[in-house]
Symmetry: C2
Subunit: 616 residues, 2 copies
Amino acid sequence: MRDQRRIRGPALRPTLVMSSPVDALGQASSPGCNMALSTCCSFSAWQRRLPFLAWLPAYSLQWLKMDCIAGLSVGLTVIPQALAYAEVAGLPPQYGLYSAFMGCFVYFFLGTSRDLTLGPTAIMSLLVSFYTFHEPAYAVLLAFLSGCIQLAMGFLRLGLLLDFISCPVIKGFTSAAAITIGFGQIKNLLGLQNIPRQFFLQVYHTFLNIGETRLGDAVLGLVCMVLLLALKLMRDHMPPAHPEMPPGVQLSRGLVWTSTTARNALVVSSAALVAYSFEVTGYQPFLLTGEIARGLPPLQAPPFSVTTANGTVSFTEMVQDMGAGLAVVPLMGLLESISVAKAFASQNSYRVDANQELLAIGLTNTLGSLLSSYPVTGSFGRTAVNAQSGVCTPAGGLVTGALVLLSLDYLTSLFYYIPKAALAAVIIMAVAPLFDTKIFGMLWQVKRLDLLPLCATFLLCFWEVQYGILAGTLVSVLLLLHSVARPKIQVSEGPVLVLQPTSGLHFPATEALRDSVLSQALGGVLECSHICSIDYTVVLGLGELLEDLRKQGISLAFVGLQVPVLRALLAADLKGFQYFSTLEEAEKYLRQEPGPEPYNICEDCVPEHKVALLKA
Amino acid sequence: MRDQRRIRGPALRPTLVMSSPVDALGQASSPGCNMALSTCCSFSAWQRRLPFLAWLPAYSLQWLKMDCIAGLSVGLTVIPQALAYAEVAGLPPQYGLYSAFMGCFVYFFLGTSRDLTLGPTAIMSLLVSFYTFHEPAYAVLLAFLSGCIQLAMGFLRLGLLLDFISCPVIKGFTSAAAITIGFGQIKNLLGLQNIPRQFFLQVYHTFLNIGETRLGDAVLGLVCMVLLLALKLMRDHMPPAHPEMPPGVQLSRGLVWTSTTARNALVVSSAALVAYSFEVTGYQPFLLTGEIARGLPPLQAPPFSVTTANGTVSFTEMVQDMGAGLAVVPLMGLLESISVAKAFASQNSYRVDANQELLAIGLTNTLGSLLSSYPVTGSFGRTAVNAQSGVCTPAGGLVTGALVLLSLDYLTSLFYYIPKAALAAVIIMAVAPLFDTKIFGMLWQVKRLDLLPLCATFLLCFWEVQYGILAGTLVSVLLLLHSVARPKIQVSEGPVLVLQPTSGLHFPATEALRDSVLSQALGGVLECSHICSIDYTVVLGLGELLEDLRKQGISLAFVGLQVPVLRALLAADLKGFQYFSTLEEAEKYLRQEPGPEPYNICEDCVPEHKVALLKA
C-alpha cells in the first residue's frame, strides 16, 4: 500500500524523505554532497545522534497534518491498550498510561524510524509480570535498570548484533505477530469475556464461547471494519491531484483524502458518539473502555528500596529478586523494538540505525522510570496503526504523548465511551496487511534454504515471540556457518588441474579443502583470487596439505593470491610453498615447459625478496 | 621430534603410513588410484567405517615392535593412573581398571588416530564424581547413556561441529593441559601428600608443603627424568642406518634404538626393580603404587535401577538424578577426546575422521558399561606417552588392553612396586614438549586476531578445561561471524566507480554493503565475481538499494554475476536491476557511450529471455 501511496499524489513525497539521516540529507541537499555530509563533518555526526536535526528543517505543513492525524489515531489506540496491558503486567491501570508517553517524546529526538512507537506492549507486560511480583516499585526499578543496560549496549555499539536477525526471521515474526495480535482482538470484537491471553488457549476459548457473542459489539465491530476497509480502498484508488482541477474538485478531493487517511480516528470517535447517544437513552449495547484514573505521575527517583508488609527490601535484594529479568527484559525489549522497526523499515524501504534505536529505547526506559513507567518497547500493533495513518516523522509521537498526558488530566471522561469493539476493528485492520502471504513463494523461488528460519520463526512465534525470533536467528546463523564451513570448490580439469574456492576460506573449511585436494590425489593449481583473508588454522592446514602432497611427490602451485593472504602464507614460512603471478605461468611450470621459475618460499627462500614482499 | 624421526631412519616410514584410511591407501596403492578408492567403491566405504582394514594389510614386524613397546609403556602408565582417577571419581579403585581396557580394543577396530588412547581421565573422573554421587551403579549407567548419545551424534554425522574448534583453540588447550598435567605430577615426584586437585590450590599447596619433600622419591624422580631426557636426546641424534654398516654396529645400533624408544617402560621397570630390592632390605624410601584389587569385572547389563539403603531407585529417577550430567559428560567426552586426537594429528600431520571418532568413543562407553566401566575419553597424558614411544597403529592398544586385563588377574603383585615418582617422571617428560612456546610469536606474525581465542582458551583452561575450549571456540566463531558481517569492499575510482566485495556476501553484511554504496552516493558498477551464493536478505537489500538509488536518479550496474547469484536476482524480479557480462560494457553504458544495452530485468523484461536464464 505504502509503495503505491509513495508513487502517487503529492502527499507522498514527504514519506520518502524522513527515513534516516542519510536519506533525509540526500533529499535536503543535492545527492552529490551526500558523502561529504554523512562521513566526516561534525554537523552530520550530530544529525546521526539527533536525527530530528536532519528532518526538522524540511518539516512542512503537509507533514504536520499527516503527523497530527497519525498521532491522534495512535493516541486513541494506546490509551485503552495501556490500561489493558497494565493489567497484564499486574499493576494498577494508571501505570499503563504512565508508561505510554515518555517514549513519544524521547523518540521524537532520537528515533530513526518514522513509524515506530514506543510504549507498553503485551509481551513486555507479560515479562514484567514474571519478574516484578505485581509490585509497582519493582516494575519501575526494572525499567530504570533495563534502560541503563540498553544505553550501555547502545554506547558499546552492540547494534551490530541485530544485523544477524535475517529477513526471513523478520518476515516470519511479522506474519506470526499479525495473526496473534489480530486474533487477540476477536474477543473484543465479539464482546467475549474471560478469554485467556496465551494464543492457543485464546483460540480454543474464543471458539468455545462463540455463543456468548454480544450482538451490539459484534455488529459495531463489523461495521467499523467494513467502514475502515471501504475508506482504505477509497484512498488507495484515489486519482492523483492535478493543478488544473477546478477548485471545487480540489476541495472535495482534499476532504476525502483527509477523512480516508484519518479513518482510524474518524471511525473510533463516531463509534464513541454512537455509544454516548445510547448511554443517553439509558441502554448500552457495547462494552466500553470505562473509567480511567486521573492525574499526572509524580516526578521522583526510581525506588532503590521498597517497604512491604514484611519490612524494607534493600536494593541488592530487589536486584536478586528480579534476577534473570535484568537480562531478559532489556534484551527482549531491544529485540522486539528493533524487529518491529526493521520490519516497517523494510516494508517502507528506509533504514534504521540500530545503535541509535538502542539509545532511544534505553533513554526512554531510564527517563520513564522517573515518571513511574514500567519497561516499554516498540509496539507492533500501534506502529502498524501509525504507519497506516501515513505518519511522516516521529513528530506524530508528540501528539500521541500530549494526548496521553491530557487524557490523564482531562479527557478520561471522553475516552470512557470508546467501545472496545471499535478499537479492535482498528487494530485488526492495521495488522491484517502485515501478514505476508507471498513471502513463502518468493523464498521458494529465490532461496529455498531460507524457508527454514522463516518457518522456525513463524511457528515458534505462536508459542512465545521471543523464542521464535531467537530460534529463527539461530537457524539462519547456523546455515551461514555451514555454508562457510563447506565452501564450494570449483574443479576445472585442463592441461593441469585447477582448484578454485568460489568464496572466502575460513578455519572451519580447512578440513574440507584438504579433503577435496587430497581426494584429487594429483597436484595442480590452487586459484585463490576469491580469498581475501586467511586465518592461522587455514595457513596451518595448507602447510599440512603441502607436506602430505610432498610425501606423495606431488606439487601444488598457488595463483592469484591477494596481498594479505600472501603475506600470511609468507610469514608462516610453509615448506614447499610456491606461487605464480598468473595461471599460465603455473601451468607451464607444472607441465615442465620452459617458463619463469616459481617464487619458492621455503628453506631456500631469498630473505631480501621475502622481506620486500612482507613490507609490500 | 616426530617429524625428524619421520625423515630419518627406516623406523620412520611406517609412522607416515598409518594416519588415516586415505593416506594408508595412498601408500598401499599408487597415488593415482587414490581418488577412485576413496570415493565410491564399497571397500573404501568399509575402510572408512573400519579403518583397521586400511592399515592391517600393510602391517609389518617393524610396526609390531613399535606398537608393543608403546602399548607396554602406556599400559605401565594407565594402571596406576586408573587407580588414582577412580578415587577422583569417588569409586572403588578397581573401577578405574575396569574402564581402562575396553577403549583399547574398540579403538583398534574403529580408531583413525594412531596416538589416541581412550580410558579414564582426570577431567572425566571429576565430572563423573559430580553426577554419580560416588555410587558405581550411577557411574556405569552414565557410561552406557553417554555412549548411546555419542553413537547417535556419530551416526548423525555431527562431527562437522568439531571443525569449529580452530587451531589456536587446540594449541591453547594443548599448552594449558601440558602445564596442568605436568604440574599435577610434581607432588608425586616429590612424594608430597594430601595435595588438592584444583590447579591453583595444587600450586599453592605444593609450594606450601615443599618442605615435606621425601628425599627418596625426589631423588628417584629426578634421576628418572634425567635418564628419560638423556635417552630421548640419544634417539633424536642417532645417525641414520646404512646397509653397508658392519653387522656389529648394526646390532648395537638396533639395541640402542630399542632401549631409547622403550625408555618409558625401561625406566619404570628398573625403578620398580630398585624399589623391590629396597623392599627386600626391609627399608622402603619410595611411595609405591601399592595393592591393586584382583579379578576381571563381571559381564552384565548396565544397572537400570539400584537398591540403596532408602529402597530401590527406578531408571527414570536415576536419569533425573544425573540430570545435566547426561548432556555435559557425553559432550565433554567428545570434546576432550577429539581435541586430543586433533592436537596429535596436527602435530604428527595426519588427519582424524571426527564422525568415526564419535563412533569409536560412543561404542567404547556403551560396551564398557557392560563390564562396569565409567565414562571414558581420550587421555591427554597417555596419548602423549603413546606418541612419544613411537606407536605406529592402534594395535598398540591391544597390548595395553591385554596388560590391563592381565594386571587385573595376575600382575598386580608386580605393579605393586612401581614407585609413583617414576611414573610422574614419565608423564612430565611426555607432556613437556607439548607446551608450544613458538605459537604466540607465530600467530603474532601470521594472524594477530587469532591470539584472542588462543589466550582465552589458554587462560580459562587452568580454571576448567571444558570452559577454556568452549570460550575459545566461541571467540573464534564470533571473529568469523564479524568478518562475514563486515566484508571488505574494494572501491576503485576509474572512469566509473567500481565496488567489489572481496569475498562472499551473506545476510549480516547487507546493511554494510548498502551503507558503503549509498555513502558513495553515486552509482557505478557492482563487481560480484567473488560472490558465489546469495540469500534472500541480501537480495532484498540489493532491491532496496536499487530503489534508493533510483529515487536519487542514480543507476547501478551488476557485473560478473555467477550463475546461482544471477538466478536468485532474476527470480526476485528486482526493479531497475541491470547487469552486463563484462566491466567494459558496463562502463561504456554508464558513460552513455555507444555499446550493448544492459539486460534489463524488471517490468519491461523479456519473459522468454528470463525463463531461458532461469533454466540455464
